[in-house]
């Protein structure tokens, strides 16, 4: 260790600092010229809390809103895309029935991202798990890896997509948490459509957000918590 030339090292340190000071205003100006063109922040983590007590049995509004927003056909055949579906579960021992919406759970450690051979499946800095269709080769490993059966494959050629939601044959897709709406400062379509306010959307990392306060106050669970994926979607009253 003694042969490290300390003055030389400190010279490098100061010169790097000086260079940073010289370059920083340029970077700031560049950012300002581009207006709202900031990458999304990793400080945010978008999530949802679904209150099963408020979710009505037989109500399908969230699914309909999702289909309309994202241009899905709404059919539920084996080759049709479903980004969100209503699930009815019943406890055999007690007979208690619960109805809830099920979609991509936007895991912190998403298995779909682990298995993707082309890096098409990825988690955005703000916690939204997406498919980059420019890279997707349609191998469907992610569909097999997902414990929530949240992903669909597009089998047929599509036309007249929503300009905000590009979709196409040969790629895998799933709930995007309405990323195009979030980036505009809006809420996901399913959240907005729920007349009972059963879905609460917000930033899990902001301690003052409504969702963060609520998950601190009431008992909520992740589906398949044993997999320790730390899902962004949580359920209350399961």
């Amino acid at each position: 260790m003694s042969d490290i030339d300390l003055p030389r090292r400190s010279f490098f340190k100061t010169s790097i600092g000086a260079a940073a000071i010289a370059i920083a205003p340029g970077i700031l100006l560049f950012d300002m010229a581009h207006g709202k063109s900031q990458p999304v922040s990793g400080k945010v983590r978008w999530g949802m809390l679904i209150d099963t007590a408020q979710c009505q049995d037989g109500c399908n509004d969230c699914v309909t809103a999702c289909n309309k927003e994202n241009g899905l056909s709404g059919s539920t055949g084996p080759t049709d895309s479903q980004w969100i579906r209503k699930v009815e579960i019943k406890s055999i021992s007690t007979g208690r029935k619960v109805s809830l919406p099920m979609m991509c759970q936007h895991c912190e450690h998403p298995p779909c991202v682990d298995v993707c051979p082309t890096n098409a499946s990825f988690k955005r800095a703000d916690g939204i798990v997406l498919v980059d269709r420019h890279r997707c080769i349609g191998c469907r490993y992610c569909m097999m890896a997902c414990p929530y059966k949240a992903r669909s494959f597009v089998h047929e050629p599509l036309s007249d997509q929503n300009p905000d939601v590009p979709r196409g044959k040969g790629t895998v897709e799933s709930c995007t948490l309405c990323v195009h709406r979030i980036d505009k400062g809006q809420q996901p379509a399913c959240v907005e459509s729920c007349s009972n306010k059963a879905i609460l959307f917000g930033d899990l990392n902001d301690p003052n957000s409504e969702i963060a306060q609520k998950i601190r106050a009431v008992a909520t669970v992740e589906v398949r918590a044993n997999l320790r994926l730390n899902t962004g979607v949580r359920y209350q009253g399961l």
């Binding site: 063109s37 999304v40 800095a125 980059d132 420019h134 007249d160 997509q161 300009p163 905000d164 790629t171």
Partner: protein
């Protein structure tokens, strides 16, 4: 002087021919001031679009300057609001002339967003 005149005539003629043979006639939509110089855009628009798409999809950068949606908003035909519907549509016209495959619109909408929203209003 005679030689100079014939030379001048030669130049004019070749310029006229060049003018006639600059490529397909396109329906440029609204047209007008583009985000970059026209000739530069002809050469470099794929790089711009590729760069912008990666930033948008993966980082959520959604500025309209070099976005595909921005291109379509200005350059879709004023008749059918599309950049691919007809032979002289903005994208298709050049791409078929140059025989370059255009696969953006297998996933992306080729329609002007304002028109799409109007049609699909609740």
């Amino acid at each position: 002087m005679k030689r100079f005149a014939s030379l001048l005539l030669c130049f004019c003629a070749s310029a006229a021919f060049a003018g006639a043979a600059t490529g397909p006639k396109l329906d440029i939509g609204k047209g007008g001031q583009c985000v970059e110089d026209t000739q530069w855009m002809r050469k470099n628009h794929p790089q711009l679009l590729n760069h912008q798409r990666d930033e948008t999809v993966r980082q959520g950068v959604r500025e309209s300057k070099h976005s595909l949606k921005g291109c379509i908003e200005c350059h879709a035909s004023t008749q059918d609001n599309s950049v691919t519907a007809r032979k002289d549509s903005f994208c298709v016209g050049c791409h078929s002339y140059e025989a370059v495959k255009l696969d953006c619109f297998e996933c992306h909408s080729d329609k002007r967003q304002s028109a799409w929203l109007q049609r699909n209003a609740k």
